[in-house]
């Protein structure tokens, strides 16, 4: 694997890279789907005039046409929409050839450094709140839109530049910030788990103060390390939006402290590394009150049961369960 990030952070990296050289980009946003499709509403991609493409809307079948359309968008400096209807026999022979029988509609919007929509996405990637988008996806005003994130507000016209524009009849989309995962403790599984975190476009915060295990966190290149013992570290992570937490210190006393702290939080997913007997002993010692507060949120042993053993399998298992949790949460 490489250091390339996936998801929204990766998309932002691509936007920044294109704009850093003074070039323009095209942002593709899926605004409607029907039937079986590779991506769903809110999926995004970045293209530039030199053939760079980050992100996909299909398994590769629709992208050549998207690239052609993106070149037109840059040439005309005006947004356009693309409609891929894969439900017909004609599409199987002459079109995408996928046979998926779905339909994907995509808005292609010209972007440049400082463009309101680009700025809104930059704010989202490190933010706490979801981004609300109103996008004109048809008609004379296609490409115009509005975004709001907390108290911030952006408006743009059909060429993507800042302006107040009518958004009557706009498509409404909500884009969530990247999930942030709290890893309470490091170990041999930290590096493979961080690879999944990076590729899936999540953020990681690792709490670890023990020198021997701290090396695992550093080598894993997690997004943020809090070098504090559990109680002191809680002050740091409580101030952030945390979407999921995994107690994985490999130490009974530290996991016990962390479970107590997590029970008092509103984090929706709490994983605990270790066998069921260890879980039961920990919950027994923490008391009925803490156990009751954890009951509906605790995933212990953490991860999907895939079989096998070792740090890589463990990381895959944890990442898989986290992905399922994040996906079900947004349904």
């Amino acid at each position: 694997m490489t250091n390339v990030r996936g998801g929204l952070p990766g998309l932002i990296d691509a936007l920044r890279a294109v704009h850093a050289g003074g070039a323009r980009s095209v942002l593709g946003i899926v605004f409607a789907t029907t039937g079986s499709t590779y991506q769903k509403r809110g999926a995004m991609m970045v293209l530039d005039e030199h053939g760079l493409r980050y992100g996909v809307i299909s398994g590769g079948c629709l992208e050549p046409e998207v690239e052609e359309c993106a070149r037109d968008v840059l040439r005309n400096d005006r947004a356009a929409s693309v409609d891929f209807d894969m439900r017909t026999d004609e599409d199987v022979t002459f079109g995408s050839g996928t046979g998926c029988r779905g339909r994907v509609r995509l808005l292609l919007s010209p972007q440049r450094d400082g463009a309101p929509l680009t700025d809104a996405l930059l704010s989202l990637v490190n933010g706490e709140d979801a981004l609300s988008l109103s996008l004109m996806c048809s008609g004379d005003n296609i490409g115009a839109g509005r975004a709001s994130l907390g108290k911030k507000l952006w408006n743009w016209n059909r060429d993507g530049s800042a302006a107040s524009a009518t958004t009557d009849g706009a498509i409404e989309l909500k884009i969530d910030p990247p999930p942030r995962v709290l890893l309470l403790g490091a170990g041999a599984e930290s590096a493979p788990l961080q690879e999944f975190v990076r590729r899936l476009g999540w953020r990681s915060v690792c709490v670890e103060h023990r020198g021997r295990w701290l090396d695992f966190a550093r080598r894993a290149d997690v997004d943020e390390i809090v070098e504090q013992p559990p109680q002191a570290a809680a002050d740091a992570w409580r101030s952030q939006r945390i979407d999921a937490a995994v107690a994985m210190s490999h130490n009974y006393a530290m996991d016990s402290t962390n479970l107590g702290l997590l029970a008092a939080s509103d984090i929706g997913y709490i994983g605990l590394l270790g066998p069921a007997s260890r879980r039961d002993q920990l919950l027994g010692e923490l008391g009925a009150d803490v156990a009751a507060r954890l009951r509906d949120r605790l995933h212990a042993p953490v991860g999907l049961h895939l079989g096998g053993s070792g740090p890589e399998v463990l990381a895959l298992s944890i990442a898989s369960e986290l992905q399922r949790y994040f996906a079900e949460r947004t349904r």
């Binding site: 760079l52 996909v56 050549p64 004609e90 022979t93 002459f94 079109g95 050839g97």
Partner: protein, 149 residues
């Protein structure tokens, strides 16, 4: 009408004409569209300024195979200049130009590609490969590479 086009293309895909090798060929070239995976070889017996025989082989999508199959029947007995004109007319036809469309015969089955421009390169690959063979070029392609994630 579209289903008639599809049927003809699929018929040529299932039972391509002149598929195989031509050991006595005088000209040959390889058509490769690496991004979409189409790859075909055209072998031609071109003497006395006309195509005596043509065979093609390889693995490609339905459109490329059907185009090669139809091409293999159309170009027999034709000279290079006529083939060039036919290939040019075919390319324009897929962009919506309807001039002299009767001269295109079964190539009109690719009319739906006016709406699916990303697949035009598949239909044009056999023609580009044949033209490459006739001028002595080893390889032909109808696609451009991009920089992807």
């Amino acid at each position: 009408m579209d289903s008639l086009y599809s049927d003809l293309v699929l018929q040529h895909k299932r039972e391509p004409q002149n598929f195989g090798s031509l050991p006595e060929h005088t000209h040959t070239s390889e058509g490769i569209n690496a991004l979409c995976g189409d790859r075909l070889r055209v072998e031609v017996d071109y003497r006395d300024d006309n195509v005596h025989a043509l065979r093609f082989n390889g693995e490609s999508c339905a459109i490329a195979i059907a185009s090669a199959s139809i091409m293999s029947e159309m170009v027999r007995g034709k000279d290079r200049r006529t083939i060039e004109k036919l290939a040019g007319r075919f390319a324009l036809y897929m962009e919506g130009d309807r001039d002299d469309e009767a001269t295109l015969g079964d190539l009109r089955a690719f009319e739906p590609l006016r709406l699916h421009f990303a697949r035009r390169k598949c239909a044009l690959l056999p023609w580009a490969t044949l033209r490459a063979a006739l001028i002595g070029a080893v390889v032909a392609t109808t696609e451009q590479a991009g920089l992807h994630e």
